[in-house]
Symmetry: C2
Subunit: 793 residues, 2 copies
C-alpha cells in the first residue's frame, strides 16, 4: 500500500485478539524450544523421554522469545494496514524465532516442502536445527525472509536503510539487539535518518530490543538512566516509544499501542513531505524492554536464568544426564500448552493461522528479502563514448577515475527511471575525482543545508557520510534487496570494512548454493586514492592489503582488477556493473597519469585480462631473455620506463612485457574460474626465464597466486614493502624499490650479459637514484623526466 | 596535582591576558601557514617572493586554526591549575597546529635541537614540513606530545580513555573532529564514560570541534538542530558546554569560561567519589563551533573559503603561477602581524612565551605521550605453577585458554600495586574461558548494577564492551601511555579492528626509528573461539585470516604464535607479555583438547618455536619418507591421528612430525628476525620429501611464507577453505579436508608404496569418511573415537 494513505487506528484491538496474539506467541516460543532441544516427540503426545532430546544442543534462547513477540505484533500491523514489511534481525543468533515464525506463517513449508505443516514436518523442523546436514542456528541465508544474517553484530540498521532507499512503500522493521547496540557500526547507524528521503524512500522502524544482557554481561543501554536513553534516541533524531515489562497480556497491549502510534507518525511524515514541508522528520522507533529468555526457566540450580545472561544460549544444559534439568525441560515445554494451539495432526489451528499475513505480505516471503527476484539489469552506456584518445602509448591522461566519473554520470542518467543505482562514499567521491557524477545527480541529504553547500539535495544518487561502515552497510542492504551500486573509498581505509566484506562474501557463497535464492548484483568496490599517491597524507594512508584479504574468500565469489589506464578502467567498470553475485574490487589512480591503450586495444586486453604488450616488447617467440610483468597503474609506468632504459642501453636484450588487469588470471584454473591453464601461463611467462614483476600491492600476493606455476622460482616481485612517508610520487616507488632504476638493477642481476656492460648500467642506475634523492630534497618535487614515458603506436 | 583538590576560579581572566592569548594564537596560526607554504623568508623580513614558496604545498589548513585556539587555551588552564594534561588530536591532519605549538612552547627544539628558536630554526621548521626528507603533514610519531596520529579517523576518544585508565590525575584533552565524529568507532566511544572510575582513573575532556565541514561535505553534527546535539551528548551521559562563534576575542572569553567551568565540574566529580557517592558522574565536555579555516582567506575566486570545506587542505593552490593567489597569500601571512609577536631574531617574545607551561607540564613533553619513559616491566609468575601434567602425549586437557586464565589471574595479583595491566574483551572473557581472572579482579563498570550481576565493580582489571573497536582503542591508549595489556577476541571478528591494527603497527614501526621515542609494551592479542570450534555459531564465525593481514606489516613488528596445547600457550603468553614494541598474535582453543607436551618438553619446543616431535616420528636422519607438519591445536590433533593410522597400517613408512609454534620461523631469516636459515629449514623439512602440512588458517599463508625454500614445491598444505556451517567439531575438519582421513589420503598420493596397500588404505579412509557422515547425521555428535589420541611418553 501507499504509506501516505495509511489509516492508523489505535482503538480497535480487542481482548480476544490479544489472546490470539498471545497464543501465536506461545506457539512460536514452543517451536523455538523444540528446535533447540528435540529430535522426536514434537507435539509431546507422549511423556518426554531422554531419547527425544538432541545429544548436542546448540543455539541461542535468550533473544528468541522477544523476537517471537515482535514478529507476531508486526504480523498484526502488516495485516491491519496491508504493509509491505521486511524483518531484519540484528540479534540474528535467535534463529529459532525466525525459522519458527516463517514456519507458522507457511513460508517455510512453501520453500522447503518436506517441512510439512503437521507432526512429521514439525519433527523434521526440530531435528534439522543446528544439526549436521541441517540448518545453521542463526538467521542464515537458509531462513526464508532473511537478508541479514546477524552472525556478526552491528550492521542491521545500516542494512535496513539500504533496503528502503528507493523503496518508498517498504518498511524495514529492524530489531537492534542490546549487545549489537554497543558496536561502532550500529552506534553510527542511528544517524542514517538524515539520509532518508520521506517521499522517495521507505521507512526504517528500529526496535531497540533491550533484553538487558549480552553473553555474560549486562548491556550498556539497559543500564543507563531511562531519561538518558530517551535523550540519546532523541539526540539521534528519533521519536522513541517505550514498551517495558514482563507480564505478557499487558505487554501485548502496550506493543500494539506503540506500533499503532508509530504507524500514525509514519503516515504523518509521509504526508508532510508531499506538502513539501522542509522539517527534518522525526521517525518513530520503539524501545522494547523485555526479559532475556522470557518464559524460559526462571531459576536453574538456584540461580536466576530468565531475565539474566544465563539464558543467552541453552539454559538447561544437561537434560539427558541431569534429571533435574530433564524435569525442568519437560515442564518448560508443557508450559506453552500447545494442545490448545495445534490440532491433533500438528497443524496450527485456524484462529491462529489467520493472524499471519498472506502471500508475499508474509515477512518470510517478501520478495525484497530475496533481492534477485526484483533485480533489473542496469542500462549501461557504450564505453567508447568515454574512451580517451591515445595516440602514443603513454599519452598523458587527466586521471583515470575522472573518466569513470563521466561514465557513471551517464549510468545515473540512463537509469533515472529505474532508480536502482547508487554511489556510496565516505566523503571521497570528489576526492576520488568522480566529479562528473554531480552533473547528473546530488548527494542525498535531509539534514540542514546552507546556501553555500554544493551538490546536496533531498534526493540524489550519491550517498556520503564519513563512515565506511555505513557506506558499506547501506550498499549491502541496497544490493540485497535487488539493486545496484558502487562503493568508492581510499584504498587504505577500506580495511575498516574487512569484516563486513567477510560477512557479505559468506552470504553470497551460501545463497549461491540455495536453489530458491536468486542472484544479486555484485558488490563493486573502487579503490582510488591508492598507496602510491598519498601526497597529502603519507604513511597512515598507505595499505594495499585489502585485496590480500579478499582473495581468502571463495574463488567463485571474488574478482580483483588492476586496470593500468582509463580505458581499461572504463571497460572493467562496465564489466563489473553488469556482473552478478560477485565482490569486484577495482584499484585505480585518480592523478594525471600515462595512458597506454587506445580503445580497441583496451577491449582486446581487458577481454583477455592479461596479455603481452607487443609494442613494448622486443622478443620473438621462444627467444625471450626476460619477462617484465606489471599490474597496477604506477607499476605499469615504472615497468615501461625500465623497459625503455633497457632497450636503449642493452638493445640486444629480448624483453617481453606482460600487463595484468585481472589478477585472478595468475591463479591456476583449478583454483579460480578466471585462472589460466598451466600451458597458457607457461606460454606467457615462459618455463625458465626470469620474471621481474612490478606489482601494485604487497609482493607476496603474487607468490601466493603463482606458487604452483612451472616458472614460479624465477619470479622476482617488487611491490609495497610498508615503506613510506610524505614524499614525492616517484620517491614512493623508490622507497619500495618499485621504481624503474631498481627494476633495471633487478633485471641486470638476473640476466647473463657482458659484465662490463652490466656494471656500467648498474652504476648508472645508482647515480640516477642519488640524483633523484638530491633533487627532491632540494626542490621538494620530482625530477621532471620521471612523470611520463611515450611510445609510438 | 591531585584533581580532587583543584581550585577552579572563573573570574580571574583579564582583558590583557585575553590579548596575550590572542597573540599566541596568531603566532601559532602564522607558523601553520608558514609550514604549509614557505621555504624561506620565515619572518617576512623582506617582501614575499615566489622563490620563498614551496613548489609542492601539502597539508591541511582547515582544522588547524581551531586546534591552535584549543591548544593555547589548554595551556592556560594547565598553568592555572598545574594540570597533568595530554592533547589528543582526533583531526590529526592538522599537523601544522601541533608542530607549531610544540615549537612555541619549546618542546620541539628540545627534541630536535637543530630547529632553533630563531629565524634559522623557523626556516627549517617551515621547510621540513611535508617535504621529502622532512616530517609528515599529520600529527605523526615525529611530533612531540603525540601518541595518536589521527591519519585514519575515529580512534581519538578510545585512545584518550585508554590513556587515563589508572592515571588518576591525568587529563586527556581530546579534540574530536566533526568528520571523525561520523565514524562508527567514535560514535561508540562516547559511551566509554561508563567504564571510567572517578577515583582511580583520570579524566577525558572531549572537545567536539565542529568546523562544519569535512573534505567536500558539511558534517552531520554541525547540521542537526542545536537542541538535538545537546540531547545527543546528554544521552551519551556527558555535560556539554557550547562555545560558538567567529569573533576571536569573544571566543577567547567564552572558551576560558567553558574550560574553567569544566574544571569546576571535574573537581566536583573527583570529590563526590571520595565521598562514595554512587551516582554515575556526568563529566563535562565542550562543543566548540568555530569556522573551518578560521582567519584564512575568506574568498578565493569569488567563492567562500573560510567557514567552508574549500579550506580543508591548501586554500590558495597556486601562489607561484597565479598572481592573485600570490597576493592573497602575502596578505594572509601579514595579517598575523608577527612583528608584534617575535623579536628581530625570530624568537617568541617573553610575554607570550610565559603563557606556555614549563618542563613536563608542556603537552609536547608530557611523558605519558612517550609511554616507554614510564613503562614498568610486568611482574610475571612462574609458568611451571600453571603447567598441566602430561603423562601421555594426548592426555585430555580442560581447554587451553583455561590455563591462561589461571596464569592471568596471578599476573593481576602480582601487579596489583603497579596497576599497569588490563584485560580487554568484547564480552568474551568468560566465553573464551579465562574465568579464573575473576577470582582476582572484576570488570570495571560504572553504570547501574543489579544484585544478580557477576564480576562487575567500579574498579577492575577487566574491560568488557561489545565493541572490538573500543577494546582495541582502549588497549592501544593504555599501551601508548606506558602500560601493559591483552585483548582476547573471537578469531573471526578481530577483523573488525584490521584497520586499527594497521595504524598501530605503523606507529610502532615509525617510533622504533626515532631515537627519542621509547619502546612500548607489545600489543598482545589472544584469539580464542577459533575457526574450528564454532559449534553454536557456524559459518559467519569462521575466519582465520587475521594472521594473513598481520604478516603484511613490517617483520620487525609482528609475531604470530600457534601453540598446540596449554603448556605451550602458557609459555607463549609469558613470552609475549614480557616483549616490547611488537604486535603478538596468539591463536588458541578453549575447548577440552589433547595435551601433547609436559612442561619441560614444552619449554624446549617453545624456545625453538619449531621442532621435530621425535616421540611421534619414526624416521632416522636422512631416512625420511614423508614429513607431517602441523601448526595450531586442531591441526596438531588431526596430524597425530593421521600419523597413528599410518604407523599402524604402513609401519615401514618413515614419518617425521614437525610442529610449529612460532609461525614466522617458516619465513627466511632475511625476511623476518625469527626466520630459520635455509640450512636449518632444509634440515627440518628435507630438501626433497613430500611435506603434508596441516595448518590452522588459510593454506596459502604457508606457501607465501615458504615459497623461497628449497623443498617448497613438495609442500601440500591443508587448512581452512571457507567451508563450514553448524556441524560437529570433527566434521569441520572433514569439510575442509584437514581431518586425519584426508591427511592419510594425501600422504598416500605422495609416497611410492605398494599399490595394493595404498589402494586398500585409500578405500579404508573413504569408508571412514562415509561412516563419519552417517554417524553425525544420525546422532548429531561425533563418533566417540575422533576426540583424542594418545602416545606414551
Amino acid at each position: 500500500m501507499n504509506l501516505s494513505t495509511l489509516k492508523p487506528n489505535t482503538s480497535d484491538i480487542t481482548s480476544e485478539t490479544l489472546e490470539h496474539i498471545n497464543g501465536y506467541w506461545r506457539a512460536a516460543n514452543y517451536l523455538s524450544v523444540g528446535q533447540i532441544y528435540l529430535r522426536d516427540n514434537p507435539l509431546l503426545k507422549r511423556p518426554l523421554k531422554k531419547e527425544d532430546i538432541k545429544l548436542m544442543r546448540l543455539g541461542h534462547w535468550g533473544t528468541t522469545p522477544g523476537q517471537n513477540f515482535i514478529y507476531v505484533h508486526l504480523n498484526r500491523i502488516i495485516k491491519k494496514y496491508d504493509l509491505d514489511m521486511v524483518y531484519v534481525s540484528g540479534p540474528g543468533h535467535g534463529g529459532p524465532a525466525l525459522v519458527g515464525n516463517t514456519y507458522l506463517e507457511g513460508s517455510y513449508t512453501e520453500i522447503y516442502p518436506e517441512i510439512t505443516q503437521d507432526e512429521n514436518g514439525l519433527k523434521k523442523l526440530f531435528k534439522q536445527f543446528s544439526f549436521p546436514g541441517g540448518i545453521p542456528s542463526h538467521v542464515s541465508p537458509e531462513c526464508p525472509g532473511s537478508f541479514h544474517e546477524g552472525g556478526e553484530l552491528g550492521y542491521s540498521l545500516a542494512h535496513s536503510f539500504g533496503a528502503v532507499f528507493d523503496n518508498p512503500n517498504l518498511i524495514a522493521a529492524c530489531v537492534v539487539g542490546d549487545g549489537e547496540a554497543e558496536t561502532g557500526a550500529l552506534a553510527a547507524s542511528w544517524h542514517s535518518n538524515k539520509f532518508l528521503n520521506p517521499e522517495t524512500d521507505g521507512v526504517v522502524l528500529p526496535i531497540l530490543h533491550l533484553n538487558g544482557y549480552k553473553i555474560a554481561n549486562p548491556s550498556l543501554l539497559a543500564r543507563i538512566p531511562h531519561e538518558e536513553l530517551i535523550k540519546l534516541m532523541e539526540g539521534y533524531g528519533w521519536k522513541p516509544y517505550v514498551v517495558e515489562g514482563d507480564e505478557p497480556m499487558q505487554m501485548h497491549r502496550d506493543m500494539s499501542f506503540a506500533l499503532d502510534n508509530a504507524m500514525a507518525d509514519i503516515k504523518k511524515i509521509k504526508n508532510y513531505t508531499t506538502q513539501e514541508d522542509s522539517q527534518v522528520p522525526r521517525w518513530p522507533m520503539i524501545i522494547l524492554k523485555s526479559p532475556k529468555g522470557w518464559t524460559g526457566p526462571k531459576f536453574i540450580d538456584g540461580k536466576p536464568v530468565e531475565n539474566h545472561f544465563r539464558s543467552h544460549q541453552v539454559p538447561l544444559s544437561d537434560p539427558i544426564d541431569n534429571d533435574e534439568d530433564f524435569k525442568q525441560l519437560e515442564k518448560w515445554l508443557q508450559s506453552y500448552q500447545i494442545g490448545e494451539l495445534f490440532d491433533k495432526n500438528g497443524t496450527l489451528k485456524k484462529v491462529y493461522k489467520e493472524l499471519a499475513p498472506q502471500g508475499s505480505r508474509r515477512m518470510g516471503m517478501n520478495p525484497n528479502t530475496n533481492g534477485g527476484l526484483l533485480l533489473k539489469d542496469l542500462l549501461l552506456p557504450d564505453v567508447q563514448d568515454f574512451a580517451l584518445p591515445v595516440k602514443s602509448h603513454g599519452d598523458n591522461g587527466p586521471g583515470d577515475t575522472r573518466s569513470v566519473g563521466a561514465f557513471l554520470k551517464e549510468v545515473i542518467n540512463l537509469n533515472s527511471k529505474q532508480q536502482n543505482f547508487r554511489l556510496f562514499g565516505p566523503d571521497e567521491i570528489l576526492s576520488n575525482r568522480l566529479n562528473e557524477v554531480f552533473d547528473a545527480t546530488n548527494r542525498q541529504w535531509n539534514a540542514q543545508t546552507d546556501p553555500n553547500d554544493e551538490f546536496l539535495a533531498p534526493q540524489g544518487r550519491a550517498m556520503e557520510i564519513l563512515s565506511e561502515h555505513l557506506c558499506e552497510g547501506w550498499l549491502e542492504g541496497y544490493l540485497l534487496t535487488g539493486r545496484h551500486g558502487l562503493f568508492t573509498s581510499y584504498e587504505a581505509f577500506i580495511h575498516i570494512i574487512d569484516s563486513m566484506f567477510n560477512q557479505h562474501a559468506k552470504w553470497l557463497k551460501v545463497t549461491a548454493e540455495l536453489p530458491w535464492r536468486r542472484q544479486l548484483a555484485s558488490l563493486n568496490i573502487l579503490l582510488a586514492s591508492h598507496v602510491w599517491r598519498q601526497d597529502h597524507n603519507g604513511f597512515t594512508h598507505q595499505d594495499p592489503g585489502f585485496i590480500d584479504h579478499v582473495v581468502n574468500k571463495k574463488a567463485s565469489i571474488i574478482r580483483v582488477y588492476l586496470p593500468p589506464d582509463a580505458n581499461c578502467l572504463l571497460l572493467t567498470m562496465k564489466h563489473c556493473l553488469k556482473s552478478k553475485h560477485y565482490v569486484n574490487v577495482m584499484v585505480a589512480g585518480k592523478h594525471p597519469s600515462p595512458q597506454w591503450l587506445p580503445y580497441d586495444q583496451a577491449i582486446l586486453h581487458c577481454s583477455k585480462g592479461i596479455g603481452v604488450w607487443d609494442w613494448a616488447s622486443n622478443d620473438q617467440e621462444d627467444q625471450t631473455d626476460i619477462v617484465m610483468a606489471c599490474a597496477g597503474d604506477v607499476p605499469t609506468l615504472e615497468t615501461l620506463a625500465a623497459v625503455s632504459i633497457l632497450r636503449k642501453e642493452l638493445p640486444e636484450l629480448r624483453i617481453r612485457v606482460i600487463n595484468i588487469v585481472d589478477l585472478m588470471k595468475l591463479q591456476s584454473e583449478t583454483a579460480h574460474p578466471h585462472g589460466l591453464s598451466d600451458s597458457d601461463f607457461d606460454a606467457l611467462f615462459t618455463k625458465d626465464k626470469p620474471v621481474i614483476f612490478a606489482f601494485h600491492a604487497y609482493p607476496w600476493l603474487i607468490h601466493r597466486l603463482t606458487y604452483k606455476r612451472t616458472n614460479h622460482h624465477n619470479f622476482h616481485v617488487h611491490g609495497y614493502q610498508e615503506e613510506g612517508t610524505i614524499t614525492t610520487p616517484f620517491d614512493m616507488t623508490v622507497l619500495n624499490k618499485l621504481d624503474r632504476y631498481h627494476l633495471v638493477q633487478d633485471v641486470l642481476k638476473h640476466i647473463p650479459r657482458s659484465e662490463s656492460k652490466n656494471d656500467y648500467l648498474q652504476e648508472k642506475m645508482k647515480d640516477m637514484l642519488i640524483k633523484h634523492r638530491n633533487y627532491i630534497e632540494e626542490h621538494g618535487v620530482d625530477m621532471p623526466d620521471v612523470k611520463d614515458w611515450k611510445w609510438d603506436i
